[in-house]
């Protein structure tokens, strides 16, 4: 089973790199979807079935479709013509690399963690997560709906043309 993990990891990293480097935005979206499906596989390996399902539905199903819609709507599905300057691009790669190295160096100082309890196969199941969510985190869960409402209102306000202004003036 360890083999599965490393294969998925390789697929994810390669597709993530393609997200960054592909010229067409639509290609980027497709590669990101591949990356996210790999991530859903990782969730299943971690025995987090609920998260895996939610991840597929929310990210690959909703958010990425939203991205695609926007790209089509704004007519962005063209190959890029202008890139950032060469210096900027090189420094971006170097910065990313340095960040990776620094974080790896940071993990060296972390005390090694072994699985503390014998694994119970039920931890990631819908029923377990649901119990935790509605017992311990009920209030944040309810409040997150307020966040959604405000995000929705904000999106609508941004997306609207300045009609109100025209009416008034």
């Amino acid at each position: 089973m360890a083999f599965l993990f490393y294969m998925l990891s390789a697929i994810m990293i390669i597709s993530a790199l393609f997200v960054v480097f592909s010229k067409n935005p639509v290609d980027s979206v497709i590669y990101l979807i591949i990356c996210f499906i790999g991530m859903a596989g990782q969730y299943i390996l971690l025995n987090a079935q609920f998260l895996a399902v939610v991840h597929v539905i929310v990210y690959t199903g909703a958010i990425m479709v939203l991205f695609l819609f926007v790209i089509m709507l704004l007519n962005l599905n063209k190959e890029i013509i202008v890139r950032k300057s060469k210096v900027t691009r090189i420094s971006a790669v170097i910065t990313g690399g340095i960040f990776f190295l620094v974080m790896v160096a940071a993990t060296r100082q972390v005390i090694e963690i072994h699985p503390r309890y014998p694994f119970s196969g039920t931890v990631g199941l819908v029923s377990e997560v649901g119990k935790t969510l509605f017992h311990e985190f009920l209030l944040p869960f309810e409040i997150s709906s307020v966040l959604f409402i405000s995000a929705m209102i904000g999106a609508v306000m941004f997306g609207k043309k300045d009609e109100v202004k025209n009416f008034k003036s």
């Binding site: 420094s91 910065t95 340095i98 960040f99 620094v102 974080m103 940071a106």
Partner: protein, 633 residues
């Protein structure tokens, strides 16, 4: 000593009423009608007076000597624990009664006197604040609360002396009073700090309990008492810090009455009487106090001989009388000093209010050379003024006689020379007071065009009440010679520890009284001959004078000496600081800092270029540096 007395918590109300009056008249002053402020303020002080009387009877009926009332725990830092507490004992009750009693009469009088002033409401607000501070001063149960009142009194005196601030000379006088007081306050606060370091407390009861176990004449106790004395000298206008008081006449006349009679100048006397246990331990300080008091009494009386401004004469007489109180304090006769303070409060308030009435009648004229013949025009003022003059001169049976005679007999007991010097001062007092009296009320009216008239009732009624008090106030403390039992001194016995017995052998005393009485009558006769029979007028300004009188008219050149010794070096030093240090050193530094800041701003502004991707880079670099920083720790 400690015990609960029912309803003693009423004491909160005593300072609370004037504070309330201050807040009402001060904050809502613009909305009040013209005279409402005065009525509210007077009523507040009068309520305080009533409550003080109630407290007096409560304390008396409880049979206890004192009561401490803690309002709240004010400062609690480390081992320092200072409650905001009031001490009600016989001394503070006496002072409260004097402050609120005389104060309320002065307030009522002010309603009439300040009637035409446009800022009358803020005047009453400041008067109430003044009374409030004074009550805090006399009621405080530790030196720190006393100090708040002390400073509040200084501040209010500044405000009230400079009440007519449009006149620069008045402003100058207010500032002078404030600065002179400040010099004294410095000594006072140093004394409090030293007290705290010595006794680890500032509360009266704890300090006195510890001090009563100490030996007399220790260097620390002498230093403490001397420092406290500096404060008292500043506040009670003794040599060398007395010059502010005559200039304080710039304020409205009721303010002078309040400062001189009921509040402010009595603070120093009260403080020393309160600290009597400490002072008894420091014989050197007592000698210093005696010397200061006697010198002040005589010097101020001599200056008073040649003053022509009615209020200035009274001011110097106040300084002189305070000198007598200091003399009594220095002799260890604290209750005599407080007794003289009380009677002085009555007759000096009366004199000032009478002077105010005269000034009111003369249309603002204060020069006694231009007055005269007011006896017929203003009968009530005349009679009350006469009572006060007799009282201050020490003619029996007026109140001043008892208190002054007590001090003189103490001086006689101590030293005969001291007695004769003090008696000389008393004779001078008698002379200048009768000079003033004859010039104002007898002879012909010398100011053309003035139509003097008696003041309204709101002003004369306080005069009459004070007149009665001036006449009979002395009966509070009748010595055994006249069949009394010194009830006032005995009343104070529990609060102040007098060093000397308040009694004196009656045969000596009767001789002394007869001697002083004969001399006094002689002096009055001389004054009558000079100013009524011969109708001699004091020299006009600019007339040639002998050297002696020139020195006296110029107040011994003390103001000028201060000018040369203190003010000139100080201002040249300030000029040096301004011209050399400030413009040459400090300004370049400050300007340089500003210049450098704006240069750096011009440089760093280029970082703020508005480009998003640059900001991304900056952010990532910052995060990286942050992580590296954490890792390297």
């Amino acid at each position: 000593m400690v015990g609960t007395i029912p309803n003693i918590n009423l004491a909160y109300l005593v300072p609370a009423f004037p504070l309330m009056g201050f807040l009402i008249t001060g904050l809502a002053g613009k909305r009040l009608k013209h005279n409402q402020g005065g009525i509210i303020a007077s009523a507040m002080i009068f309520f305080s007076f009533i409550i003080s009387v109630v407290l007096f009877y409560l304390l008396r009926s409880s049979g206890q000597d004192s009561a401490t009332i803690t309002l709240f725990n004010w400062i609690a830092v480390g081992n320092m624990n200072i409650p905001f507490a009031f001490l009600i004992d016989h001394l503070s009750l006496t002072m409260m009664l004097v402050v609120t009693g005389v104060g309320s009469l002065i307030h009522v009088y002010s309603i009439g006197y300040m009637h035409d002033d446009e800022r009358v409401n803020s005047f009453f607000a400041q008067m109430n604040l003044f009374t409030f501070s004074m009550l805090l001063l006399v009621m405080g149960a530790n030196y720190l609360v006393l100090f708040i009142g002390w400073e509040g009194v200084g501040l209010c005196s500044y405000l009230l002396i400079g009440f007519w601030f449009k006149n620069p000379a008045f402003n100058y006088a207010a500032r002078k009073a404030f600065i002179m007081n400040r010099i004294g306050d410095l000594g006072f606060i140093l004394g409090i700090i030293l007290l705290f370091f010595t006794f680890k407390s500032v509360s009266f009861s704890e300090i006195f309990a510890q001090a009563s176990l100490m030996h007399a004449g220790g260097p620390i106790i002498t230093l403490i008492t001397l420092l406290l004395l500096v404060g008292a000298v500043g506040k009670s206008a003794q040599i060398p810090l007395y010059t502010w008081l005559p200039d304080a006449m710039a304020g409205p006349t009721p303010v002078s009455a309040l400062i001189h009679a009921a509040t402010m100048v009595t603070a120093g006397i009260y403080m020393i009487a309160r600290s009597s246990i400490l002072y008894n331990l420091a014989p050197i300080t007592l000698n210093v106090i005696t010397a200061i008091g006697l010198t002040t009494a005589i010097v101020a009386a001599i200056i008073g001989l040649r003053q022509n401004d009615i209020k200035k004469v009274l001011a110097y007489s106040t300084v002189s009388q305070l000198g007598y109180m200091f003399l009594a304090l220095g002799l260890g006769a604290y209750s005599s000093a407080v007794f003289h303070l009380t009677t002085h409060a009555f007759f000096k308030a009366l004199l000032f209010l009478g002077a105010g009435s005269i000034i009111h009648a003369m249309g603002g004229e204060q020069d006694i050379r231009k007055m005269g013949g007011l006896r017929k025009k203003m009968p009530i003022t005349y009679f009350t003024f006469l009572a006060a003059t007799l009282a201050i001169s020490g003619i029996p049976p007026f109140s001043g006689f008892f208190s002054k005679d007590m001090i003189l007999s103490k001086a006689f007991e101590h030293n005969v020379i001291l007695y004769f010097l003090a008696l000389g001062g008393a004779l001078l007092t008698c002379f200048y007071m009768f000079r003033l009296f004859y010039l104002v009320f007898f002879g012909e009216q010398r100011l053309a065009g003035a139509h003097p008239h008696e003041s309204p009732k709101v002003m004369t009624i306080p005069l009459i009440i004070l007149g009665v008090l001036s006449v009979f106030g002395g009966f509070l403390n009748i010595p055994s010679l006249f069949g009394g039992n010194l009830s006032f001194s005995n009343f104070l016995q529990s609060a102040v520890s007098s060093k000397v017995s308040e009694e004196i052998s009656s045969t000596t005393e009767i001789e002394l009284i007869i001697l002083s009485l004969v001399l006094l009558i002689l002096v009055i006769g001389i004054a009558y001959r000079t100013y009524v029979r011969k109708a001699n007028l004091p020299a006009r300004d600019g007339e040639p004078m002998s050297i002696w009188s020139r020195i006296v008219v110029n107040k011994f050149y003390i103001d000028k000496t201060y000018m040369i010794l203190v003010e000139k070096p100080y201002s040249s030093f300030s000029n040096f600081l301004f011209n050399k240090v400030e413009t040459k050193v400090l300004n370049p530094i400050v300007d340089g800092i500003g210049e450098a800041t704006s240069r750096i701003g011009i440089l760093t502004r280029k970082l703020q270029r508005g480009n998003m991707s640059f900001y991304f880079f900056a952010m990532v670099a910052g995060i990286l540096l942050f992580i590296v920083f954490i890792l390297t720790i």
